[in-house]
Structures are given as C-alpha cells and as structure tokens.
C-alpha cells in the first residue's frame, strides 16, 4: 500500500471572534493520494479554503487549527514557520482565485519564477531563467520570452492565473492546491485554464486539489470528490459514483438543483429549500437538518460523522440514500 501524499485527520479550524469561537471547519479527515486529482466542493463559507489554509499554515491570526496533517508521514500542522515556508515554496504549491494576491506586484514575473527555482532547486541564475521560460511555455503564455519582463499588473486575469500556476509548479511539487482558480474568469478563459490544469495533471506526477463551488468543474477533472457543508465533510467518493448515486441528501439536492445544459428548461428545478448555516449559530445535530427532507429527531440531536460505507466511499448522514 502506497502512503498518501497528504493524510488529514480530524482537522478542525476555529476563529476567535469577540468572546466567541467560530467553528469554520470541523473534523475533516481524508487522504490525498499519489497522482490523484481530488475535488473539494461546497458553497461559500463551507470551509473549503480554511481547510487547506490551515494545512499549509496560512490561517489568519485569529484562527486556530487542531488535528493532524501528515505530508509523506511528517506532521506539518502548526509546524515551525521556516519549515512550512520551505514546503510551500517547494513541495506544496497553491493557486488562488485572485492571482494578484499570490504574485509580488513589484517584481517582474521572470524574476519571481527564477528566484523560486534558484532557492528551492539550487539552480544557477542562468539555469533558473531558462527554467522560468520553460514554465511559461508549459502554461501556454504567448511570447514567453517577452513576458518574462512583464509585471503582474500588465497581464490579463487569465494570463496572471497561468503565471500563478507556473510559479506553483516550477519546483515540480507533490501537491498543487488550486482554490477557485477559474471563478473570477470569463467562461472561454476558464475553459483554457481547466484544460491547462487537466494537462498538467496528466503529464506530471503532481497530485491536484481542486477547490470549487461548481460541481460541473470537478466532473470532468477530478478522480474523487469531497463535498463540504457547514464546515463539515459530508460525502467522499469517486466522482463517477457520486454523480450517479449520491449518498448524502445534500449532494443529491445539489445535483438535482443545478441548471446544466442538459436539463429540460421547461421543467422547474427542484431547489433545496432554506439556506446554508451561519457558522456562528451552528445547530447541535446535523448542519443540514433544517433543509433536509429525511431529517428526524436523531438528526437534530447527533452530528453525523463521516463514516466509511465501503472502502472507497464515506458519508456523514444518519439516514443516507442507497446510492442507486
């Protein structure tokens, strides 16, 4: 059995807000396997970003993380800063929705890329420059040699996202975490970036984590998906199985209520009633209970934990669907 690249166990994140502790992420456990693409899907505020920010030591000052994050067997949750800095620059790359926030505004992009190659790969300046150019070619930046001299603000949103991906990938990391990388882009540009990520996934050994609110984005890209709701993991499994037979009522509701290009537009979509929970007032039991048609007394009392149904699928629900 090959060890997973990342092994996350009982990861919880809370934020101090006044005299309250907000539970942003509760008991998240999953593995990221070698060379796999894992999708993390949920609505805004469901805890997707904070899960990975916590794992990489990037939580806001008022945040606290507990549990365990093993990177190739080594505990990295709340590890010393210099260790995490080295890991992030080198083994664990991250791309954000807003590419500007991940790039240094005052530095030419060639310099940013080359610096990372020198520092983490021990390359000479000339080698690093060549590697920077190669990376811009890999992410399909037109006129890459000229673009090395550009500043981030001189690039369009789509180009910046490509540069961000180049920077995250330059050291051939073990893991690329992409947090809503296409949400701010136009559809035709989103398609370009998704194709790029799919290509990288196929042609490199890097494991990819794709964080998104859009199930359609993960459908054709990810091998497995983890669905989150109210800071909790609610369902984990192979993408094809989740789409064909969701076990969690929330997943099933989401799939039914999505307007896609293949629904019959004359028929009303069955929408999930109610609203996502407010993490400052999470209920005692299941966070989805108020919106769930299967809810019973037990759901209001007991918070269901993510439990394996088969060795490849888990669900956090007292009364899951049968998956057919």
């Amino acid at each position: 059995m090959v060890e997973p690249v990342l092994k996350i166990r009982d990861l919880s994140v809370s934020f101090a807000a006044g005299d309250q502790q907000l539970a942003a992420v509760s008991n998240v456990s999953f593995d990221l396997n070698e060379e796999e693409c894992l999708g993390i899907v949920g609505e805004s505020g469901s805890g997707k970003s904070q899960t990975f920010l916590a794992a990489l030591g990037l939580l806001a000052r008022n945040g606290r993380a507990t549990g365990s994050v093993l990177y190739r067997g080594q505990e990295i949750l709340n590890a010393p800063r210099h260790e995490l800095d080295e890991l992030r620059g080198n083994r664990l790359g991250m791309v954000f929705q807003d590419a500007l926030s991940g790039l240094t505004p005052t530095m030419r992009i060639g310099q940013q890329l080359a610096e990372s190659a020198e520092r983490h790969l021990g390359m000479s300046p000339a080698e690093a420059r060549a590697r920077a150019l190669e990376m811009l070619e890999i992410v399909s930046i037109p006129d890459p040699a000229q673009r090395l001299n550009a500043y981030p603000f001189e690039l369009s949103g789509g180009m910046r996202q490509r540069v961000m991906i180049a920077l995250a990938m330059i050291c051939k990391p073990d893991v690329l975490i992409a947090d809503e990388p296409t949400t701010a882009l136009d559809v035709t540009v989103q398609a370009q970036i998704l194709r790029l990520l799919d290509g990288l996934k196929r042609h490199t050994k890097t494991s990819v984590v794709m964080i998104t609110h859009d199930l359609a984005v993960v459908a054709g890209l990810c091998d497995r998906i983890l669905i989150m709701y109210g800071g909790r993991p609610v369902e984990l499994g192979a993408t094809a199985e989740i789409f064909s037979g969701p076990l969690h009522p929330y997943t099933a509701g989401l799939l039914r209520s999505m307007p896609t290009l293949s629904i019959d537009p004359e028929v009303d979509l069955p929408a999930i009633p109610g609203q996502p929970p407010d993490i400052s007032q999470l209920p005692a039991g299941c966070a989805f209970a108020e919106r769930c048609e299967r809810a019973s007394d037990r759901c209001l009392r007991e918070d269901p934990l993510l439990t394996a149904r088969t060795n490849a699928r888990s669900v956090a629900c007292h009364f899951p669907l049968d998956g057919n």
Partner: protein
C-alpha cells in the same frame, strides 16, 4: 406593426473616456453597445449572454433610461422613450423595474425591509393610504418567501438570497410589465440560485411580466429565457430561440461559448470535451476591425478583417452576424 412591449432599434451606447489631449484630438469614446436591435414580447424572457465587457449591463441601463443612448431608439409599447413627457416617463419607471447583481449594496442600509419594499408604491401609487401600502407590502413579502415579521429588520441582517428576494419584492410591488435582471443570481450560492430562478419563473407565470435576463452563465440563461441574444464586444453575434441556439449554434462565438461550459458529466473529460478559444477578449477601447470576434474566431478569413458582417435572418426569430455562417458546420 408588432405588438412588442419593448423594441430596441440600432442602439448605440458610448462612454467618453478622457479627452484627446491639448492638440485637440477630440474626446475618445468607448462603444459599449453597437447597433443592437431586438424586441421583447409580453410575458416572455429574453436572455442576454456574453463575457466581461460585452455590453450586457450597458444595454440594460440604456433600456431603463439610466444611460442615454448615443444612437438608435428604444420604443416602449411603440413610443420612443426619449420623446416621452414627464407623465409618460413616470409611468414608464413603474412599468420597468430592475434587479441587480449585488443584493446587499442595492438596498438602502438605513431603511427597513418593509420601507424598502413599500417605497415604490409611495412614488408610483400615491393614491394608496398608508394602510393599503402596508397590506400590499406584507402580501409581497410573503409572496417572495419572506415573513411579515421581517419587515422591521434591516438589509444587513439578511443573507444574499434573502436580499435578492427583497429586491424582487421591491421590483414586483408596482406590478411592472418588464423586469431587467442584471446578473441577479450570479453572486448567489449554488443551492440558492435555483430558488431565486424558480421564484422569478413563478412570478412570471402568475403576472405575465416580461423579463430581460442578463447573465454570463449560459446554463442559467438557458433555464430562464425563451430567446437568447449573444453579445461580444458590444455587438450582436446571434439572436436565437433557445433550443435552436443550444442544439445548433450557427455563429462561431455562440458555438465557442457553449463549448466552453463544463458539463456536469464525469464521463466527459475536460481535455476531450471542453473547447477553449485562443486568446482573450480584446480591449473595447480598440476593438478589432471588421468582425469584432475575428481575433479569436477559428473560422476567420481575410473577409472578416475587411468588413463588418451584417445581420442576416437565418430563420423565424433567428438572426446572426457572420460572413461565413452558411458554409460552417453543415
């Protein structure tokens, strides 16, 4: 003479962008909407799709008289809106309503929800007593899925979806003939989007209100609209009945746009199924000559550089602007 509720004829919207400099180069203009024509009939929804800067919102604003068109006409029930007198304009303002994208910032934070929803009645139905207004407001709140006891709360106490319900209540209370929804569900969570779309569909079925539904999201537009106008850099690419557009897009840009939408189907791998156009949208300050789409069009020829394609009828209620549509995709 048609019985269209709204007719838009050869509409242009220009924005002045700085001055041409000391040497008298004249002011520069950005053409946000260029020669757009369409109609909206009573009870129907026309969708407008396109990417950033394609002029969707400017078109919506021109129709609502919030920006002044620099060319063309907007006819409301056959009357040119720029020639209307005060009284007609007043009536027009209650007959056309708008729902914006950003739910919270489009609601006055210092007014209670009840005041916000009742306010349009003050202006447009001054004959109503306070009591009648209140009754109508409560009915409207309940109709959009809010509770009467929420009327004394302020917008910031509500979620995005609820704020959008408040905006819809405010728009619908004056019984408009047309509502312009500008990215009205785009900022909402996935599970809330369907709720708000369904609310708009229900209200349309009940009241016969027409809708101009503007969105960058093709799947949402397909769910909401019977006819769809596809825009690119201010220009009409294709105007088509919904099913024809999705089953058989005739314009290269419509085709590209539809092909770029990821399908929620795990059997379709991204690299095999998603079509990606090259390049990005050019600046609207210096649009390409000829066909504005030519710098990204996979079918462009020298003819596309030299002349602007004219609109042609492809079928009933179906027009497009492309030099080569007859020979493409047969």
């Amino acid at each position: 003479m048609t019985d269209a509720l709204l007719q838009v004829e050869a509409l242009n919207v220009d924005y002045a962008v700085g001055s041409g400099g000391l040497l008298g180069g004249g002011r520069k203009f950005l053409r946000a909407v260029s020669d757009i024509s369409f109609e909206i009939n009573a009870g129907e929804t026309l969708g407008i799709v396109g990417e950033t800067g394609c002029g969707k919102s400017s078109l919506g604003k021109a129709i609502l008289n919030l920006v002044t068109p620099s060319g063309g006409r907007v006819l409301w029930r056959g009357r040119d809106v720029t020639k209307m007198d005060r009284k007609e304009l007043r009536a027009l303002r209650s007959e056309m309503q708008i729902v914006f994208q950003d739910p919270l910032s489009s609601l006055n934070p210092r007014m209670t929800v009840g005041e916000i929803v009742a306010e349009p009645l003050r202006v447009h139905a001054p004959e109503l007593s306070a009591e009648q207004r209140n009754k109508a407001m409560i009915e409207m709140l309940e109709r959009v899925g809010l509770r009467a006891d929420m009327q004394n709360r302020y917008p910031n106490e509500f979620s995005g979806g609820q704020c959008q319900r408040i905006s819809i209540a405010r728009a619908m209370i004056v019984k408009p003939k047309l509502i312009v929804c500008d990215e009205a569900v785009s900022a909402l969570d996935v599970s809330i989007q369907a709720q708000i779309c369904n609310l708009l569909r229900d209200l349309q079925r009940e009241t016969g209100v027409s809708m101009l539904f503007i969105s960058h999201d093709l799947a949402v537009v397909r769910y909401m609209a019977q006819r769809i106008l596809v825009m690119y850099l201010g220009n009409l690419m294709e105007l088509s009945p919904r099913d024809e557009l999705f089953e058989r897009p005739r314009h290269p840009y419509s085709r590209a746009l539809i092909g770029a939408v990821p399908e929620a189907d795990p059997n379709l791998r991204i690299v095999d199924s998603l079509v990606a156009l090259e390049g990005e949208i050019p600046s609207p300050l210096s649009p390409p000559s000829g066909c504005v789409f030519r710098t990204r069009c996979p079918n462009a020829t020298p003819a596309c550089v030299g002349s602007v394609p004219q609109r042609e009828a492809v079928g009933p209620a179906h027009t497009l602007a492309c030099h080569h549509w007859r020979t493409l995709y047969d």
